[in-house]
């Protein structure tokens, strides 16, 4: 069931900056890694929760809700912040992130907070589970959409392509996959480690309606999904071209920030760039 309201994109851009600032501070305070990949997918998550999805924090378990699986679980901080800002739980909970005993671990536990659908962290799991949810919608006659956010490194996993073959064979249309294509994985350029180029064509060849978009242009991300045809039996793949570390100049496209933790000085610099000081 698509959300068709027109959002205020300027407002969403400023929200994205707030989320990024929060992520930088959280990584600094806790020493939790994976900041680069968390920053690259912020705009996709904002597009989903503030424009594309039908979700109501007051009815987090409504059977008719749209569902999002954050499959690149190492970057889960982005979803934690977004869900808090969306109102699924108080923002103060974010202060406990990665602390001993917290509900918000560096990879999400099952059912850890309202709004978090699936525990992830091992790559290649989200799309098959999302496909199962999408198929259940058809079986149960409940019209919801399922969104899966994956990393480009995650496309190394064979299970992704198993699901990619089954979904169009079953004419599943209520399934949207975003690939956060920031062109880096843990130890190098993703397109050098595996033959990743022509990613959009790969999805298309597997039977999907596939689009290349600027993954930092929230409007473009939203429109790609909204303009995708319905009724042709094809799921939707959005290859979102992004920059790892997006929004902080000295982190952008520098893969050291897959593991590096910002120091106090770097946090101040980042917050300034993000307009949060």
């Amino acid at each position: 069931m698509q959300n068709t309201q027109t959002p205020d994109f300027k407002e969403l851009e400023s929200l994205a900056k707030k989320i990024r600032a929060r992520l930088v501070v959280m990584s600094h305070r806790t020493g939790a890694a994976h900041l680069g990949g968390a920053l690259s997918c912020v705009d996709i998550i904002v597009a989903c929760y503030w424009a594309l999805m039908n979700v109501d924090p007051q009815k987090a378990f409504d059977p008719g809700r749209d569902r999002l699986i954050f499959s690149k679980g190492h970057a889960i901080a982005t979803l934690y912040v977004a869900l808090a800002m969306k109102g699924f739980y108080p923002e103060e909970l974010l202060d406990s992130y990665a602390q001993c005993g917290s509900k918000l671990a560096e990879h999400p536990a099952p059912y850890c907070v309202p709004g978090l659908e699936v525990a992830t962290g091992s790559l290649g799991h989200g799309l098959p589970v999302g496909l199962g949810m999408a198929m259940a919608g058809a079986i149960n006659h409940v019209p919801y959409d399922v969104f899966v956010v994956m990393s480009d490194g995650e496309c190394n996993e064979g299970s992704v392509w198993e699901a990619a073959m089954l979904a169009p064979a079953r004419s599943i249309e209520n399934l949207v996959v975003f690939v956060d294509y920031n062109r880096w994985q843990a130890t190098g350029r993703s397109e050098e480690i595996m033959a990743l180029p022509s990613l959009r064509q790969k999805w298309e060849a597997f039977g999907w309606n596939a689009y290349d978009v600027d993954g930092h242009d929230i409007r473009a991300v939203v429109e790609a999904v909204r303009l995708a045809p319905r009724g042709d039996g094809k799921p939707v793949a959005v290859v979102a071209h992004t920059v790892k570390g997006k929004g902080v100049s000295f982190m952008e496209d520098d893969n050291n920030w897959h593991y590096r933790i910002p120091n106090e000085e770097e946090v101040q610099k980042a917050l300034k760039e993000l307009g949060q000081l």
Binding site: H125, P128, L131, N140, E162, A163
Partner: protein, 312 residues
């Protein structure tokens, strides 16, 4: 057992709209009747087991009761991490059914043998492991698994196994079923070795040894009451499984036993050795290779008796 599985699936799918059958591109014609009753709740997921378990998990998260079915090694070892993370970590009502457990596909060699599945599945938190001994138990286990509402692994044999029960027995997960009473030796059989257990018990009779035979269908959780009683009251307790001796049912019983040093009975574990198969042969040939025969079991039990006498 597989025909009973298909037939009971059809019954259950007709009664319960939450039931969905996922198959890994096997069971040609086997599910025709099912598909006639619930065409929208049959999904051939192709030869892609990791995805199949993920799909089943997503369905279970949305209120359905998926049953995922294919040949045992492919629905256990092949997609193990999906079972661990998607099914067990989320504690979902996904039922995993492996056909051709143990050496059922002996002639296809070790790619199709499954002598590690009980070991793999029973160490996962939240998982229940059931190995029915005949078609009646298959039907009962399926129903109990759906009612259970958490992850369940059901290990089937193949086809044409003899019936052990006359009708559907009273079946409770975690409670063994006594098939034949006896006083000296207690044979705990899990899964498709039950016919051999009964033949062995008869052979014991020729020696004047009285053997109880139990269908120990649930490997996890263990029936601890039954084990306590057996180890207190019998001379020898024998575990039988068409599965590796490392990590399987017998291994599980021995883990339990070391915490109870006062046990009266000796434990004899019958199962598959820690080796692969490299030569052609049928199921019975493979069993002979691993000394899973009634003669061998009787002989090894006699040795145990002899040692006990010498020890006292």
């Amino acid at each position: 057992m597989r025909n009973a599985f298909a037939s009971e699936m059809t019954n259950m799918a007709s009664e319960d709209r939450r039931i969905v059958l996922l198959s890994g591109d096997i069971g040609n014609r086997l599910f025709d009747d099912y598909k006639g009753h619930a065409p929208d709740r049959f999904v051939n997921c192709g030869i892609a087991e990791a995805n199949m378990i993920g799909v089943a998990s997503g369905m279970a998260m949305c209120g359905l009761r998926p049953i995922a079915y294919t040949i045992t090694p492919f629905i256990t070892a092949r997609c193990y991490e999906q079972i661990k993370v998607d099914v067990c970590y989320h504690n979902l009502p996904v039922i995993i059914v492996g056909v051709g457990g143990g050496l059922s596909y002996a002639e296809l060699l070790s790619t199709h043998h499954s002598c590690d599945d009980i070991a793999l599945l029973r160490i996962l938190p939240n998982m229940t492991v059931i190995c029915p001994s005949d078609s009646h138990e298959v039907r009962a286990a399926l129903r109990a698994a759906v009612a259970h509402g958490g992850p369940v692994y059901i290990r089937l044999g193949k086809k044409n196994e003899p019936l052990i029960h006359d009708s559907q027995p009273e079946f409770t997960i975690g409670k063994g079923i006594v098939i034949r009473e006896g006083a000296d030796v207690c044979m705990l059989s899990t899964g498709n070795l039950m016919p051999l257990a009964l033949e062995t018990a008869a052979l014991f009779g020729d020696d004047g040894i009285s053997a109880r035979v139990v269908s120990f269908h649930t490997v996890k959780p263990l029936d601890e009451d039954l084990l306590t009683e057996a180890f207190n009251n019998f001379d020898v307790v024998i575990t039988l499984e068409e599965h590796g001796l490392l990590g399987g049912f017998g291994s599980s019983v021995s883990e339990w036993l070391v915490k109870r040093p006062a046990a009266r009975a000796d434990l004899l574990q019958i199962g598959v050795d820690d080796v692969f198969c490299y030569e052609a042969g049928k199921q019975d040939d493979a069993r002979r290779t691993f000394n899973i025969t009634k003669e061998s079991i009787v002989e090894r039990t006699r040795d145990l008796y002899r040692n006990r006498k010498q020890g006292t």
